[in-house]
Assembly symmetry: C2
Homo-oligomer: 477 residues x 2
Amino acid sequence: MKREGLSSVHADKLFEQVYDYVLDGIRRKDWKEHEKLPSVRALALKLDVHRLTVFKAYQLLKQKGYVYVKDKSGYFVQPGGMLATASLHDPIVSAYVQRSHLSEIHQVQATYQFSKALIDPNLLPNLYFSEYVKKVFDLYPKVLGTYSTTQGDEELREALCRYYTERFRFYLTPQELMVTSGSQEAIDLIARVLVKPRDVVLLERPTYSPAIDVFLRQGANILAVEITQHGYDLEQVEQLMRTHKPRLFYLNPTFHNPTGFTVPLAQRKRLVELAEMYQCLLIEDDPCRDLYFGKEPPLPMFAYDTSGYVIYLRSFSKYVAPGLGIGTIACRPSLMAYLLSAKALSDSGTPLLNQKIFLHYFFSERMQQHLLKLRTALAVRKDIMEEELAATDWEWSSPTGGFNLWIRLPDSTPMEKLLGQCIEQSITFVPGIICDPQRELASWIRLSFSYLNEQQLREGIRRFVSEVRSLTAQAEE
Amino acid sequence: MKREGLSSVHADKLFEQVYDYVLDGIRRKDWKEHEKLPSVRALALKLDVHRLTVFKAYQLLKQKGYVYVKDKSGYFVQPGGMLATASLHDPIVSAYVQRSHLSEIHQVQATYQFSKALIDPNLLPNLYFSEYVKKVFDLYPKVLGTYSTTQGDEELREALCRYYTERFRFYLTPQELMVTSGSQEAIDLIARVLVKPRDVVLLERPTYSPAIDVFLRQGANILAVEITQHGYDLEQVEQLMRTHKPRLFYLNPTFHNPTGFTVPLAQRKRLVELAEMYQCLLIEDDPCRDLYFGKEPPLPMFAYDTSGYVIYLRSFSKYVAPGLGIGTIACRPSLMAYLLSAKALSDSGTPLLNQKIFLHYFFSERMQQHLLKLRTALAVRKDIMEEELAATDWEWSSPTGGFNLWIRLPDSTPMEKLLGQCIEQSITFVPGIICDPQRELASWIRLSFSYLNEQQLREGIRRFVSEVRSLTAQAEE
């Protein structure tokens, strides 16, 4: 009787609570490494639960590598278990272990940086920036003496609302817009306000790697939605929404990172309907919209949302100025109230100086000219990268915007070894596996063509191709 | 038998889990407002626990105002219960409700701002800032095209390490220092990395209000340590550490906010010993150290810590430039690793521009001259405020540094009414109750003398005194 109860959904909740309780104790060092845990009997008595509930919790702890069994005498704390890689997949442990895979790769200094999806600083109008800064000090002499409001500078929010409304038909008021310190802060605020341990979150597969890290840290139960050149399988999405009632779907439908894919208009409209139907928020991250090589992409989903189920994130770091750290969140007022409270506790507002410089630069004519040049420069660099890769049998889809190629290397490529040898050769790239919520896409990589100049790009890719070839040749021998 | 079991410490854990489970359901709208919850019997069956456990959880939910009982027919969801003020004291609910009491007061625009513990922007060397900015663009032409590292600009960290070591004997390496976007981010990162729901956290009483909000949001169980002119009652502190094994003690021992008190040297040394003995981290927040009116305060506790139990926070917003948003965290490497991972997920590093401007301004001679003038200006403003208050029978201790007077008004003062009427008269202040983790100090207020010029200060205080007098006279009639 009891045993059947335990395998039911509701009893699961109870053994998971015991599991959490023990993990928590290990984390707090109530039980230290190699120390014996209480016996099943003793813990059952202590927690006033059935012994099978404790047994099931201990079995799961063993399976996940947090405890080991010795001489049938009991369960012991596994050293290092709390920080093992495996633990990142555990919703409870990951809530304590904060890890940013992409930032670890970015800490590597290299000549041939294919890991950074960032504009080459030489492509930015550096000489003119100091003019704009001078102007800002003339206009607002006390700008450094003043905190911004939590929501962001009112003048900037008004200007951006007009811009969003004119360009994308958003019909937004300044109360519905928040200025953040880049999109990383925006994703983090959203995760903190909306996601609790075991909440279901949908992510694209592959997706922006730090988003996986943020939602894992919140303890989310992550489900993957495949993204292809044609967008999503909407039947799969609806099925997931119906069955798992996800809290939100974080997506990047325009020049998607890392694949470069763009979700077609019809799918965008349908997704907004699904979001409303299943009360699943869509977190639409849109940092590359202006960086198209051909025609403009379809309107953001936010433009089709009439019931407040889309939150629109826009970072300007990618092409206006990474060093300013300016992004925005657009959403309807009920959600904004929660985000504002979270922002008030996480910093004292994005610095006013940065907001004012951004305001005056972003809406200048120079910025528009810069953008035109930037699109051309990026398209040229993409072409160079593809030219250099043409002789390989690697697979990729040519992107129509953004910064990256998403490439499938031969299955025989020993990826970890490749990364290690590349770093020795001063070459970096992003292993696709860190962009995969399921950590399976072992043959894929992301190469960014945006950060290096044309000559470095050619040289770097040649070296990279020859590294891969020599390693796969060895592997196939 | 069972009943006795339930009132024991261990059974408490179980009924708290049921309590959390139900609250969680209410938050997710599994049960909507005025909807009936499952019967005690049904929920006990579902969760595989004893009925008395469920009963006890329901009673607590009722007591906290989340559910109500109707016609003896059962328990129903109380509308608005999740967002009621009472819920802020609940470790589980507060983890979802993010609220910043101080930032709510700061949103009020007023002529007589006694609520902002900030430098009057006219006291800052605004005219010279643009010179430093120009210099930064000359030195680092690509500063806006570049992200900072997560830990902060290396040149700045090296300079600050030398400064901390020379001035305060810290013997710090750049690896032990992180640049943050002000102290709010620092406190938030620390809370996120170190505190989980029901962890015990010690806070001073009174304390910096946003710290209460941040630790409450983390779900901490907050215990108060009284701070007086003579520092803490160290026997009380030791007793709390021994009995409750707190995770950390957040303190502000130098020109304490809001009281202005400074903890004496002998206590600082003893606290470091206690911290090590009871494995309780000391989070030493030190934003006002340089703003003394008489002699320099004792060295930070960090200088006496040899085993890594002190984390030292320093914000420079208070007197260098609020608009730059620069602060630092100093701690030993094992903790730094966790903070760095958390920072990498919460933003993309503090903007490089702001760090470079800070670097060149902070270590300039002009800054040192500015600081001398600032100390004098603040002392003069403090004297003016005290002069204007001399005729009242209100109580306060004259501070020897910082920005604030911490004042006890007559007990008969109707505080909420006073705040309302003051806001109508364009006067703001901080009600002491939001600085009290126990929300009891109803007669106390914080008045900042730093933000207004001398004339506004006199006028504002006269108006404020007359408001209080007319209200207390009414109350006593």
